[in-house]
């Protein structure tokens, strides 16, 4: 059972790697105190999911999903659905990255810190003084 599991993980190396990357990104997003790093973690997490999707669409020995010479046989092309989903996903993650970076810039201008915990404390104190 155990050997089976490891064997499967090695054979599906891309999936394994993408899950590990997802975990790394998730951990950075949750735990790293630096905001810029957090945002990078978010990007790593998202791209890991996209890698996972892309691997799922791949079929050994088949080609790019662009019709060549009028061949419209299923046997000739990989699954186009995951590619489409990933394209949509990439745009979504760019938008949230830009938004979070803009927030980071504003927060740094205000509190001169990139540490989220520190920022939260400083913001609280600022509020109490008013």
């Amino acid at each position: 059972m155990n050997i089976n599991l490891v064997q499967h993980l090695v054979l599906n190396i891309e999936e394994t790697v993408s899950i590990i990357l997802f975990g790394i990104g998730f951990t950075i997003l949750l735990l790293h105190r630096n905001l810029v790093k957090k945002i990078m973690g978010m990007n790593i997490m998202d791209t890991a999911t996209y890698l996972f999707l892309a691997v799922k669409g791949y079929i050994t020995g088949r080609g790019v999903p662009i019709v060549v010479d009028g061949i419209q046989d299923v046997e000739a092309y990989i699954n186009p659905v995951p590619s489409g989903l990933v394209l949509t996903g990439i745009v979504v993650s760019v938008s949230s990255t830009a938004l979070m970076l803009a927030l980071t810039v504003r927060l740094y201008e205000r509190y001169h810190s990139l540490d989220l915990d520190e920022i939260l404390i400083l913001a609280k104190e600022e509020e109490e003084q008013i």
Partner: protein, 315 residues
């Protein structure tokens, strides 16, 4: 005895009264250490650089943080291991008999060319079969740029703001290479090539890899390079905020109307009446080409705007 009891009652009652009046906390020690310790700390007068760090080091918070960290690490490891365990049970990679290679993908491949007119199956899929998702995606980009605008645009209404704007501009120039001749000559060669490449990617979205989004990003990169080489003055003649707003508005409105038309006719089983053309020609595949151009324009403008907003809070 009774006296003691009185005191006891009194203190409880007082506590309750003061809590009712909203002056203190009924549960004086707070429920979570995080909040409670913060309340105990002396207020720090100026929130200046680095001072928050000392608070973080105080003991209670430190202990809470350690606990929190350990728990989070356990959680993350749990997530990774569970997902790995799941992956081991998933269908193998690259097998043609996997559940996801079903009739859906088969139809996109087999009949996509006839139904959408796009040679690039992926483009045909995202802009025709699953166009609602893609429309949502452009809206994400739109609202993202609105949020960045909201955060970073400096509005020159009051004097204060004018000053801020000037400071932002001087700060910005501080790092900007001014009239660097090497940069200018290089970008003279590079910018046209980059822009041509971007336009090529946008226009050939239905024929070759790429499409509105990637082409738009390349176009945006070209504009950013031009801006860096020649500065805001020259760029200002070419590209203003008004132009940005109008372009985005027109492109998104066209996108919205065109897709509404196609959704409406589709759902009501009407003929859309848009010719698909010969597959493979540049003017083919119905709405996909104009939609790609719209998306390309929006993306190029948005990327350039992101850049200028981050640099100096305006266009």
């Amino acid at each position: 005895m009774s006296r003691k009891r009185d005191n006891y009652e009194e203190s409880r009652w007082r506590k309750f009264k003061s809590w009712l009046d909203g002056e203190t906390d009924l549960l004086e020690h707070g429920m979570d250490a995080h909040e409670a310790v913060m309340r105990e700390e002396d207020p720090i007068i100026v929130p200046a650089h680095g001072e928050g760090k000392e608070i973080l080091k105080s003991k209670g918070i430190w202990r809470f943080k350690q606990f929190y960290k350990v728990m989070s690490v356990v959680l993350c490891l749990g997530v990774i291991l569970t997902l790995l365990w799941t992956v081991a049970a998933l269908p193998p990679r690259g097998d043609a008999n996997n559940p996801d290679n079903n009739e859906v993908a088969a139809r996109y491949i087999e009949r996509g060319l006839q139904e959408t007119g796009a040679v690039n199956i992926v483009t045909g899929m995202i802009l025709d079969y699953r166009a609602f998702d893609t429309f949502g995606e452009s809206c994400v980009l739109f609202i993202g740029s609105c949020c960045v605008l909201l955060l970073l645009r400096l509005d020159g209404n009051s004097e204060d703001k004018e000053l801020e704007k000037m400071v932002a501009e001087t700060n910005d120039r501080h790092f900007e290479p001014k009239n660097d001749i090497i940069l200018q000559k290089c970008s003279c060669v590079l910018v046209p090539v980059i822009l041509m490449f971007g336009i090529y990617i946008v226009l050939n979205g239905h024929l070759s890899p790429g499409g509105g989004f990637s082409g738009g990003a390349v176009l945006g990169a070209g504009l950013i390079l031009y801006l860096n080489a020649f500065g805001y003055k020259r760029m200002g003649k070419l590209f203003t905020e008004k132009l940005y707003k109008r372009t985005t508005l027109c492109a998104l409105t066209f996108y919205c109307l065109a897709k509404s038309y196609s959704f409406f006719t589709g759902a009501n089983h009407l003929e859309s009446g848009i010719p698909l053309g010969t597959p493979g020609a540049i003017l083919s595949s119905g709405l996909i080409l104009p939609l790609n151009i719209c998306v390309g324009l929006v993306v190029a403008c948005t990327m350039y705007t992101f850049y200028t907003l981050f640099r100096k809070g305006g266009m």
